[in-house]
Amino acid sequence: MPDTLTPVLTSDWAEDQSWKLATYERGGGYRALRKALAMAPDDIITAVKDSGLRGRGGAGFPTGMKWGFIPQDNPKPKYLVVNADESEPGTCKDIPLMMATPHTLVEGAIISSFAIRANTAFIYVRGEVVHVIRRVQAAVAEAYAAGHLGKDIHGSGYDLDVVVHAGAGAYICGEETALLEGLEGRRGQPRLRPPFPAVAGLYASPTVINNVESIASVPSIIGNGADWFASMGTEKSKGFGIFSLSGHVAKPGQYEAPLGITLRTLIELAGGMRQGHELKFWTPGGSSTPILTGEHLDVPLDFEAVGAAGSMLGTRALQIFDDTTCVVRAVLRWTEFYKHESCGKCTPCREGTWWLVQTLTNLEKGVGREEDLDILLDQCDNILGRAFCALGDGATSPISSSIQYFRNEYLQHLSEGGCPFDPVASTLFAVEGVR
């Protein structure tokens, strides 16, 4: 089904030296910028509002509305901050995008900054991916050299500087206010809200923080029109998005499609499940979204339908696990991640993840009683909605959802005194029948 895919952001990924400015411009790059510079900034905001673009970083907040919150009568400078701190387990869309076509992001950042009247934009890139940081830096340098950035861009009288900032290795800095703390040179810990970043964000000035994919979608909206964008997707989740399939599928990778596509279709596009195995469970949007199972194969992957199914669309990071996977083990790995990444600011996340790991470790080893599952659920209940930011909530998602769907598998660990699965069998390098 080739027409199911809608490659926009990913259309040029296969080009030779796709990351170069020349390649990008040959494909029509930076035309949207010239169009945008001739528009009134408010008209750009209106166009993005009309397109129905919702934040691609997970929460799905309408992007144009976010821009509209910037108080333009505030005398302080305005800032655009691009959240490129992609660190969620399973999420792998922004980093390939920045590797393949960084100019899509740069052009989007320029148009977005122009719209919100920012003269400085920051791209906060996850610190571990040095190669990506270099590539974005090179793209920004190319853009400066070509006059897309700097003073009086293309004679419009508009000035913009873009700063590429490298993070220092903390998942919490993907949380927007912790990211701002990090940008300002402090420890990455989330800030108390209000004030919201739109009012007092970076350096206490009005700030828009958007995900890479959101910003990268802006040039296509300006270039092709809001209606074009809104013609894709579903009623409330418009446009296209990158769906990142990983795990036990034949062809893992990035599949750009309109929102509302189903996992069944995506798995077909990805060549089906690993041969000889069946889908057991999957995450719709990274490890912070509650897991789903085979019964959800036909759920339209948009914000509403996934929410109705008891999970969240998140970052469309579809981690696919087949029947060789021990759900307890998978959940424990994720929980260890959250324990390691908890910033320590609030009690439930800091102490809760410390305890969850211990309980899950015991359960995986088959130590404990059935009541421990209830204690585990109660711990999750005491973290969910009680923590300072969403990190704590995310830590509980895999646990609560896995117990919901696979309670018996947990109990099986207890009754068999250990894990009933062969951990090697679930690995991608496992060959059938060989140990």
Binding site: A170, I172, R187, Q189, L192, K339, H340, E341, S342, C343, G344, K345, C346, T347, P348, R350, E351, G352, T353, W354, W355, Q358, T359, N362, G368, D372, I375, D378, Q379, D381, N382, I383, G385, R386, A387, F388
Partner: protein
């Protein structure tokens, strides 16, 4: 519009646990709940710190946020301001809130050592108390074999403050206090997750004069003081409210004692004065009460040696000696309660018939006495509230962080909260000035008068009726400065206050321990004022000429013009000329000393009376604002008497009784005499004395003031506190430093001292600054008089 209408419109009405309550707009839910009698458990919340919402202990259910919509999940009540029509259900009425709080408490305890039986905080611990009120009895974590996070314990974060990381609940009160209140962000959270901990930067020690407050606001036993650690249990202590005696700020303190010994001191809570903060000196410096050299019985000199004597004998010998000495001068010192000062003032006039009395036990001037009589006595020039509300504050010759810690904190609060502008007439920008967001108005020692006079013509410095001018006692010896300051206050309309260093200075001024002033601001030269005072004292008349000031008393004793001296708590090394003071003690025929401890004065005195320290007597300190701060005795101690009782005893032997014996009686008589309602003295146009910075001959002028923690005798016996004092340095300009090297020797007319050099950017090349009492016997004894010229020499090995 009436006041009640205004306040009504500022009120917000909400419902908490079914009870309607109206609170001022902006009130946080957690404090509004207190108004209906509900205590929501909390750790990170502190009313004087910015909200942080970190511990999540105070979660409540908000079924209506005031807009008709419920908040979807429990909310931290310490971060949300009330809204009109809001409905809040706390743990008292909401199962959701109660479960949320119990859940947080359970989490807080999983990594807590639960070592209450050996913890200093046990018995007064918010964690312990709230675990009882809002937690479960049994640990599900321990029940499931959970493994706690452990750390080696404890670690020093300063010489005085110790950190036990296992007990810490990471509420960040200590780090927020240090950053927000004290402005000393030397501690911060480091690491992450459950390994997060309070840390210090290796190369920057936790150097703060207010560090002890972090111990007091720690809601668990994570922070303890080296001084108090393992010393006692809170339930063994008796607490008595009191007032700090180390500066003129009048900070409210709580003295915790056991079996006649002070075990620790805490900050009291007085929103009008020190809020909930005190300096480390006020908190930790009480070891002088139990030093080995405390005097515990009267002594009289016989054949050149002091021998113990009974009180009646000592009174009789003192009276006889003073009577036969001829004229007597009285030097009460600046550390007295107002009642004791009143006793000295009365003793001089009634028992000795002299105006030769002066509380100023440090460099002074006639201009200062005139200034005090005209501009300070009886006046409440400014208050802490005025500082906080001020648009601008001008400091002249005052370094609040070192000399008046409570003022420093209030200035910082004003600058942080209301952007109050602070200016300081001083030789360089101190760290304390930086922390109050202040700007330097550079002035060389002795040249302050010209600088202050010039301020009226500067457009960038706006002083008006919403401004405050604070002038320090050091300006006494800067000719013309006090006069210039008074003039500036008059022309600008700014409030004016004089800030002395010692707790008793202002009270002694009010009580008339000046050669020109009788109690209640009555000018000696005013016949009606004299009659008024004489009537109150029940004497026929009073000497009608102003007496000698302290310097003149010293000179007169040395020359033989004065035969006797009555000396209170005066340290010779604090006086304008320590050598001259010692010579006067030697020369005087008869010296009566009233002291707490053995000193250079008691060693040469003819009669020595042990007098009661602040813990052993009731009294009143008067703050720099003019605010009386009464306190009660903590102990009943028979070994020493208040100064007033001693002076009364001598006076009775002289046949001229004071009319009171106890502190309470002295207080009553002082109140009875009351303030003078006649004409007050006016400030003469001071003769402009040419300033004398020694720019010639390669001399540089000496700037100096005392650091908060130094060699002061009231910090004796506190090794941990002393260890947190700033390292003494000699401040010079970059140009001077280049010529000198790393060590410098200063040579003055009284001796020399050697100190490491610290370059100070905005210090003039011909000015040098050293701490006044951090080396040897102090600058006055060992080097030169402040403002005089000294010579600098490189002293590298």
């Amino acid at each position: 519009m009436t006041t009640s209408e205004i306040s009504k419109t500022d009120l917000v009405t909400l419902t908490i646990d079914g009870v309607q309550v109206s609170v001022p707009a902006g009130t946080l839910i957690i404090r509004a709940a207190e108004q209906v009698g509900v205590q929501i458990p909390r750790f990170c919340d502190h009313p004087l710190l910015d909200p942080v919402g970190a511990c999540r202990q105070c979660l409540v259910d908000v079924p209506d946020a005031g807009n008709g919509r419920p908040m979807p999940k429990p909310q931290a009540s310490c971060t949300i301001p009330v809204a009109e029509g809001m409905v809040v259900n706390t743990q008292a009425t909401s199962e959701v809130a109660d479960k949320a709080q119990q859940g947080i408490m359970e989490f807080l305890l999983i990594n807590h050592p639960l070592d209450c039986p050996v913890c200093d905080k046990g018995g007064e611990c918010p964690l312990q108390n709230q675990a009882m009120s809002n937690g479960r009895g049994e640990s599900r974590f321990a029940g499931s074999g959970g493994v706690k996070r452990t750390f080696p314990k404890p670690i020093n974060i300063s010489a005085q403050v110790l950190l036990d990381r296992e007990r810490c609940v990471l509420c960040a009160r200590c780090t927020r206090f240090s950053e927000q209140i004290a402005g000393d962000p030397f501690i911060a959270m480091v690491e992450r997750g459950a390994l997060q901990q309070v840390g210090i930067y290796e190369k920057e020690p936790f150097e703060s004069y207010f560090a002890g407050n972090t111990i007091q606001i720690c809601p668990v036993g994570a922070l303890t003081s080296a001084d108090y650690r393992f010393r006692s249990r809170p339930f063994d202590l008796v607490s008595t409210p009191s007032v700090a005696e180390h500066d003129a700020c009048g900070a409210a303190i709580r003295v915790d004692h056991r079996r006649g010994q002070v075990m620790r001191r805490l900050s009291g809570n007085d929103p009008e004065v020190n809020e909930e903060w005190i300096t480390d000196k006020d908190r930790f410096a009480f070891g002088y009460l139990r030093t080995d050299d405390r005097l515990s019985y009267p002594q009289i000199r016989e054949d050149g040696e002091l021998r113990p004597a009974s009180w009646p004998e000592a009174f009789a010998v003192a009276a006889r000696g003073l009577a036969s000495a001829g004229s007597v001068g009285v030097l009460p010192g600046g550390r007295l309660t107002a009642e004791d000062a009143y006793a000295y003032s009365t003793f001089a006039r009634v028992a000795l018939g002299t105006n030769d009395v002066d509380f100023r036990s440090r460099p002074l001037s006639q201009e200062e006495a005139d200034f005090l009589a005209a501009e300070v006595v009886l006046r409440q020039g400014a208050t802490y509230a005025d500082l906080e509300a001020a648009t601008s504050v001008l400091l002249v010759g005052l370094e609040p962080e070192e000399e008046a810690g409570t003022i420093f904190l209030r200035l910082r609060k004003a600058n942080r909260g209301r952007r109050t502008r602070v200016w300081s007439v001083a030789p360089f920008t101190s760290n304390g000035l930086r922390k109050t967001g202040g700007t330097l108005i550079a002035a060389k020692p002795g040249a302050e008068a010209d600088v202050v006079a010039g301020l009226a013509h500067r457009t960038d410095i706006e002083l008006d009726s919403a401004s405050v001018i604070l002038v320090g006692e050091r300006m006494a010896t800067s000719p013309g400065t006090l006069t210039a300051v008074a003039r500036l206050a008059r022309t600008s309309g700014a409030k004016l206050a004089w800030v002395p260093r010692r707790a008793g200075d202002r009270g002694a001024l009010e009580a008339g321990c000046l050669p020109t002033l009788l109690p209640g601001g009555r000018p000696v030269t005013d016949p009606t004022a004299r009659v008024d005072a004489a009537t109150a004292w029940g004497v026929a008349g009073l000497p009608d000429q102003p007496g000698r000031d302290a310097d003149a008393i010293v000179a007169a004793a040395a020359s033989g013009a004065l035969g006797g001296l009555v000396v209170g708590g005066v340290d010779p090394d604090d006086t304008a000329d320590p050598a001259a003071f010692r010579a006067a003690l030697e020369a005087a025929h008869f010296v009566v000393a009233l002291e707490q401890r053995e000193t250079d004065v008691t060693r040469v005195a003819d009669v020595v009376f042990p007098v009661a320290p602040v813990t052993d007597k009731p009294g009143t300190f008067v703050t720099w604002e003019g605010r009386p701060r009464e306190f009660d005795a903590v102990f009943v101690n028979p070994h020493a008497l208040p100064d007033a009782r001693v002076l009364a005893g001598i006076a009775e032997e002289l046949g001229r009784p004071l009319g009171f014996r106890t502190s309470a009686e002295a207080h009553a008589r002082m109140v009875e005499m009351g303030p003078w309602d006649g004409d007050r003295a006016t400030l003469p146009d001071a003769p402009t004395v040419a300033s004398t910075p020694g720019e010639s001959d390669g001399l540089v002028s000496l700037a100096t003031w005392k650091l908060m923690l130094d060699n002061g005798s009231m910090q004796d016996g506190e090794k941990y506190l002393r260890a947190t004092a700033r390292t003494p340095v000699c401040r010079v300009s970059l140009t001077t430093a280049r010529a000198l090297g790393a060590m410098v020797t200063l040579e003055g007319d009284r001796g020399s001292i050697t100190l490491p050099v610290e370059v100070t950017d905005d210090l003039a090349d011909d000015v040098v600054w050293v701490p006044a009492n951090s080396t040897g016997h102090g600058v006055l004894a060992d080097l030169a008089s402040p403002g005089s010229g000294v010579r600098l020499k490189g002293a590298d090995q």
